[in-house]
Amino acid sequence: MQTQTSTYSNFNIKSIRNDFPILSREVNGKPLIYFDNAATSQTPQVVIDAIVDYYQHYNANIHRGVHTLSQEATEAYEASRRKIQHHFNAKHPHEIIFTSGTTHGINMIASSFTSLINKGEVILVSAVEHHSNIVPWQMLCERTGAILEVIPMNTDGELILSEFEELLKKQPKLVAVTHISNALGSIIPIKYIIAKSHEVGAAVLIDGAQACPHLKPDVQDLDADFYVCGAHKICGPTGIGMLYGKEEWLNKLPPYQGGGEMIAEVTFEKTTYAGLPHKFEAGTPNISGGIAFGMALDYMNSIGFENIAKYEQELLVYATKKLLSIDGLKIYGTAKNKTSVISFNVGDIHPYDIGTILDKLGIAVRTGHHCTQPIMDFYNIPGTVRASFSFYNTKEEIDVFVEALKRAVAMLS
């Protein structure tokens, strides 16, 4: 990539790319083009440095140590919690619970709701959910006898809101929907869904895994009861994420796991639990991950989410137009509001074949069902090729990708 340019002038793409050491490596003898950002984002040097710095200078267990290292580590970890609080505009730092990632956060709530859901009561999910936001609720239904209902989608990959309103008549106890579809990129009107769900007394959990790389959710403005995401899609490390929960909800829910950190007092007769957030954070956490998560948010905010969104939209429009010039290419997910994710197939070529050839040409895309088998069943396809762009990608990379795709199609037709 010699001539990295952007038409969006506030954006110094060359300097941004230099922040990511991995972007200068080669794959199969070609410069890496990384278009699998919806699966995981790459890590800037400042985040890598934060992890190294922790292990080099103040690695210690947090919260109960009287010694200096433990206090420094505790301070950095808790400072990160406050950064996350401010980023998502939560009212209190203790409304932010560290998790291992989005899936963990959803499972935590699904598990804690076991005692709050009764047989025959309804849990509502949507047709565009990732398996992570389906299976934990199915398991909850199995435990309690509750019923899972699904908000349907249209062929553009948008939820059918009139059907959603019909389903609300069943008085769901809990509504769990994604903010943005991982397979299709559709932005779901969650503010509306939350408000409507609250009218019937349902709690709402938002899966923010795909939204957080592209926008800055304000949990108070959205009025979400729970909002979950993972750090690794927002330039942070894997194995760390956060669950936001409204204070009154988190106080109401029983703890999810028992162990150290989460107790106030333990005797063999009875244990009393610690207050928030520790009640939900049993055991030694991923301390370096938590600290690096805060650094990743600092990094993203230094670029600015408005800039990121604007630039990524440019990439989306550019790539969509170029891809549609390929004969037989069909895009799945054509919602009016979508993020920089393009799921597609070319004729009847299997997505796996295309992914294999693109990899040979140094291009990383995802192929398969993207953990959304119900969406693939809806379109009656085995899977798609998914190219997902981040703010460090360029139009030049898209050009190379489109040429490579043409080459693959020629080989595979």
């Binding site: 199969n28 299997h350 796996y352 074949d353 050839i357 192929t367 085995p382 899977g383 080989m411 595979l412």
Partner: protein, 140 residues
Amino acid sequence: MTIESIQNEIIDEFSMFDDWMQRYEYMIELGKSLPLIQEKYKTDDNIIKGCQSKVWVHAEMNDDKLVFTADSDAIITKGIIAILIRAFSNHHPSEIIDANTNFIDEIGLKEHLSPTRANGLVSMIKQLKLYAIAYQTQIN
């Protein structure tokens, strides 16, 4: 021909190509000559697990030889299974059980041997050998 001599023949054919693209094109070509599985055998039971694309394999004895037929919905995968079947099919189960699979490495498909690869080459080899073991047990 023994399995080993067929494998050597395949290695010779692939050695004519000097880049990956030609090798892949040839592999796709070989996929077209795959002895296709009958539609009635394309059942879920005959799908090899561990592949991102679907691969069906059927095995039956013809005299004392085990004969494989297969199909896949992805053409690279179809090429891979075609190469395996060309090497293994029409041999006594005991020969198939004993056969080694180093030739995959030598024809430049080493990357596909990684168990983390979504194409399931390792699963395919395992499945062909399992069929051989099953029929060998019947013979014994």
